[in-house]
Symmetry: C2
Subunit: 191 residues, 2 copies
Amino acid sequence: MTADPRIQRSKDAVLGETQRLLAESGIGRVSIDEVSRRSGVAKTTIYRHWPSRSALLLEACSTMGEPLATPDTGSLRGDFTVLASQLAEHLRDANWAAVVPSIVDAAERDPALGELYTRLHDAMMAPFLSVAERGKKRGELPRGARPAEVVATVVGPLFYRRWFSREPLDSAFIKAVVSAAVGVGAGVVKR
Amino acid sequence: MTADPRIQRSKDAVLGETQRLLAESGIGRVSIDEVSRRSGVAKTTIYRHWPSRSALLLEACSTMGEPLATPDTGSLRGDFTVLASQLAEHLRDANWAAVVPSIVDAAERDPALGELYTRLHDAMMAPFLSVAERGKKRGELPRGARPAEVVATVVGPLFYRRWFSREPLDSAFIKAVVSAAVGVGAGVVKR
């Protein structure tokens, strides 16, 4: 809790400029120097709120996309359809989606950023994992099914289309992906 | 065809240094200047073989991983299992797998690199697409199935595990992914 509105204003300015820099140039070019220059907030003040560049990046990234709520439609297929549709919206959001590959790339070489990325990733995937676990308890997945694997079969194809094959994330695709994951098969979906 | 072995040697030196730079630092730091400095090949010579940085990057990236051959096991499940296992090997190859996110990230901001990336991607996916199309013709996928969507349900989860969730690409996972894609369902796979 920040009581002083001036403090809140400078924190907001720092986070806002960090997010703009991330979206413009990717994570590699975000420095405390540049954020300070653009936000007009002194470096000492920035370091008072965030002990490290990673801490600032973590907060800036984690507030860029609205977190997904865990739906409860009564069926695994329904829950996955809601979540996959919301994720597809996030993936169509130019700012957020342009930043993720730069974090993934930086995480390949920098263990501190790797940890930052893992925390972001786990938070983003938590609703998918909980609906998969609930679906398994309800008997909508066979006993041998591993929830984390089922989540990969829903989320993986969406990430693939946005960042790798650059094909559209339309509702027919989402339907096919969810069908494959819940055991109907990608091809069996009715159009 | 290069008749002169000295020319071939300098081309090989340039490609080799480009690949090493890519693996060390990602695509953002690969410049003709740096490649020239490290390979000892003059910039004018490099530009004689590759008219642009993108052309050099394209050739360096496309020769980093062995291209996948199109298998013919007699069934779509068999073909996908062969291809997914080979792709998983590529994804475990530290050099190649560390470079791809830097290309994807750069492609988000640079249309020329975006085109380069699309060509690499399409070449890598061609065997997946042809086995899916053949399987569909053989009736192993329903009439409504779209081969490109089925390919996304096989490849997407593998990319997801390597670059996003950073979980292991073991054979149980590959089996679950292929089962989901060919219509058996991710959970129904026998362990």
